[in-house]
Amino acid sequence: MSSETILHGQTTEAIHVHEDHADHGHHHEESFLTKYIFCQDHKMIAKQFLITGIIWAIIGGLFSVLFRLQLGYPDMSFPVLEDVFGRWAKGGRISNEFYYALVTMHGTILVFFVLTAGLSGTFANLLIPLQIGARDMASGFLNMLSYWFFFLASVVMFASLFIQTGPAAGGWTIYPPLSALGQASEGSKLGMDFWLISMALFIVSSLLGGLNYISTILNLRTKGMSMTRMPLTMWAIFFTAVLGVLSFPVLLSGAVLLLFDRNLGTSFYLSEIVVKGEILPNEGGSAILFQHLFWFLGHPEVYIILLPAMGMVSEIMSVNSRKPIFGYLAMVGSLFAITILAFLVWAHHMFVTGLNPFLGAFFVLLTLLIAVPSAIKVFNWLTTLWRGNIRLTPAMLFAIGFVSLFISGGLTGIFLGNSTLDIHLHDTYFVVAHFHIVMGVASFFGMFAGVYHWFPKMYSRYLNNTMAYIHFWVTLVGAYLIFWPMHYQGLAGLPRRYTDFSNWQSFNQFAGMNRFISTVAMIVFAVQLLFVFNFFYSIFKGRKVQSQNPWGANTLEWTTPITPGHGNWPGEIPEVHRWAYDYGKDGREFIAQVEPVGADESKH
C-alpha cells in the first residue's frame, strides 16, 4: 500500500514537471516587469549580470585612473578634481584618505563585483543550460534571487561611496585591527559597515548562484551528454562553483566575527591596543586569525576569477583553430588539480606575518605545485593552436592574449611563491604587477573573448569588428606597458599603497616611469569605453546574425534558434552523440554534437 502511494505521488510530480516544460515551447505573454526585471530566464539573468558588471567595471576602472593620476603627477594640482570631489581633493590634489578609499574600492569592485559576479554570473547563466541541453537552470527562482542579492549588494556598496566619512579604506582585504576600529580611520567608520553588509549580500548571491550551477550541471544534462562530453567551459564553471560554495562561507564566518568585534566589543581579532592615546578594553585577540579566515576564501577566489576565463578560452581556441582541443582529459584533470590546490595554499599570502617557517615550507611546496597543472594547460593551448587553421576573430585574439598574459603573470608567481624571496617582494609593486597580469587582465581577456564570441547568441547581432581590433591591440600592448615596468619598481622595493614617492630619496627616480604608466593607464581606460560603446551600440545597431551557427561550432547553443525563447529549443531538446571537439575530422570541418556517430567514422 505505502509503496504504491509513494509511486503515485511521484507520478503526479513527474507529470507536473513534464507539463511545465511543454509550456516553454510557445511564447507566453510577458510584461515588461517579468521579462526584464523579475525574470527567471537564464539568458536574461546573464544579461543583467553582464550589464551590472560593465557598470561596475567603468566605476572601478575610473577609480584606478584617479589614483594613477595622483601617482603619475604627485606635484600637480587638478582643480577639476576639487570641483567634483570637494574636500576629498582639496586644492585639486587627491587626499590620503581619498587615495586609500580609491584603491580599496578599486580592488573590491573588480575582484568581487566585476570578475566574480560579472564573469561567472554572466557566462554560467548564459552557457550552462545552452551547452548541456536544458530548458533552464535547476531553479529559476533561486537564480533570480541570486541576481537580486547581487543587485542589493551593489546598491549598498554604491551608497557607501557617498557617505560623509567615505567608503571602506583599509584595503580590499579589510585586515583588522584597522577595519575593526572606527576611531582608527575615516574609512573604518560607517563605510566599513556598508562594506560588510554589502559583502554579506554578495556572498548570499554567489552561494545561491553556485548551488544552482552545480545542481544544474550534474542533474539536467540532456540525453547522451555524459560528463566527459561536456565542453570545457562547463567543467571550468562547475569547478568555479564548487570553489565558491566551499570557500565563500568561510569568508562569511570571518566577516561575522569582524562584525562582532566592530559592534559588540568582543576580542576575536583585537588585542591590547591604544588608539590616539585611548586604551581600548579589548584583550587577547588575534589579528592573524582573520587573515587565515580571509585567505581561505581569498586564495580560491583568484581561481573563481580565473577558471571561467580558462574554460571559455579553451572552447573559443578550439573553435577558431578548427582543431580539437589538445588533451581534453588533461584539461579537465588540471582544472580539478587547481581546484584542490586552491584550498591548500592560502598561507602563502601570510609568509611575513610571523608564520612558522617550517609550516611555510609546506605552503611553498604546495604553491609551486600549482605550476604543474598551469603548465599543462598552457602546453595544451599552444598545441591546440599548433598547425591549426586559425581564424583571428576578436574572440580568438583575446583568447590568445589570455594565454600570453597567463604565461607572463604565472612566471612571476614562481618568484612570489617562495617564502624567502617574499621577504623582499611582499607588499611591493612586484606583487601588484603579478596579480594584475595573471588574474586581473588575463581574466578580463577571457571575459572579453566570451563577450565577443557569444554576443551573437545573446543579442542576435555582431559586435563591430574594427572597434574590436582597436580594443584588443591597445589593451594588450597597454597591459604590458602598464604592468611590465611595475616589476622593476617592485624589485627595487617600491611599496604598494603609498600616495606619493617624490619626497622619498630611494624611490623618486621612478617619477618618469610612474608618469608613463599613468598615461598608458588612461589611454587603456579610454579604449575600454570604446568597447562599452561598441557593446551598447551593437545591441541595437550591430550587424544582424543570419546563420544559426555563425562560428561553425559543435556545441549545443548553436542548435537553438538565432533568438532563442524561454526554454531555448522550440521542440524537444536535442540528443548528444559525441564530444564537443570533433573539428577537422574525417575530412569534415566540424561535426556538431547532435550528429550521430557514423558507421565508418574514425575514432578520435
Binding site: S2, Q10, S139, N219, P249, L257, G265, T266, G285
Partner: protein, 192 residues
C-alpha cells in the same frame, strides 16, 4: 515521453534535494571555519575555559526529539495519514521553538553568573560560544519558518498536494541542523 520522464525521475535524485545537499556542504564549511578558528584561538594566551550550563543539555534533548517528530510526520504523509502528518509537523516546529528559547535563556543566564559574552571584559571563548550558537540558531530559525510554511499549506483547503518532496527536503535540512548542533555541543564540551 511521459514514461521517459518518469523513469528519469526515479533514477535521479530530485534536483532540489540535490541542491540542498550542496547547500549543506556549504553551511558545513562555514562552521568548519568557525570551529577551526576556535581551536586556533584556544591555543593562544588568555583563554578562559568554557563551562556549559545544564540548560544546553535540555535544548539538546528538545532538538533531538524534534528530529524524531519530523520523521514521524514524513512517515504519516507517505501513508496518507494527513491528521498525523499535520500533528507531528506542528510538534516539530514547536520543539524547534523550544530549542531556540532554551538557548536564549541559557545565554541570559550567563549574565547572572557575571560571565560577559560581549563588550569590555569579555573573553573570546564565550564570545565564540555566542557567535557560533547564534549562527546555528539562525539556521534553526530558518528551518522553523520553513516548517510553519509547510504546515500552513497542509491545512489550506484551496490546494491539495500530496507530494512529499517539500517535506522530505525540509526534514533533511532539519536533521542536518540537529546533527550540526550535536557536533557543536560535543565540540564545546570537549574543546572547552
Amino acid at each position: 515521453m511521459m514514461i521517459d520522464v518518469l523513469s528519469d525521475q526515479k533514477r535521479k535524485i530530485h534536483p532540489h534535494k540535490f541542491t540542498l545537499w550542496v547547500a549543506i556542504g556549504s553551511i558545513l564549511m562555514m562552521f568548519a571555519g568557525l570551529t577551526s578558528a576556535f581551536i586556533v584561538k584556544r591555543s593562544q594566551a588568555n583563554w578562559i575555559m568554557l563551562n556549559i550550563p545544564l540548560i544546553f543539555w535540555y535544548s539538546t534533548v528538545a532538538i533531538l526529539t524534534s528530529s524524531v517528530a519530523v520523521q514521524l510526520s514524513l512517515k504519516a504523509l507517505k501513508q496518507r495519514n494527513m491528521v498525523g502528518y499535520r500533528r507531528w509537523l506542528v510538534i516539530t516546529a514547536v520543539l524547534g521553538i523550544v530549542f531556540l528559547v532554551l538557548q536564549i535563556i541559557g545565554f541570559i543566564q550567563f549574565g547572572d553568573q557575571e560571565i560577559k559574552l560581549i563588550g569590555a571584559g569579555s573573553n573570546a571563548s564565550y564570545s565564540f560560544l555566542l557567535a557560533i550558537s547564534g549562527l546555528h540558531g539562525l539556521h534553526v530559525l530558518g528551518g522553523v519558518i520553513t516548517l510553519i510554511v509547510i504546515a500552513i499549506r497542509a491545512v489550506s483547503i484551496s490546494k491539495r498536494n500530496y507530494s512529499s518532496v517539500p517535506l522530505e527536503i525540509a526534514a533533511t535540512y532539519w536533521h542536518f541542523v540537529d546533527a550540526l548542533w550535536i557536533y557543536l555541543f560535543i565540540f564545546f564540551n570537549w574543546m572547552k
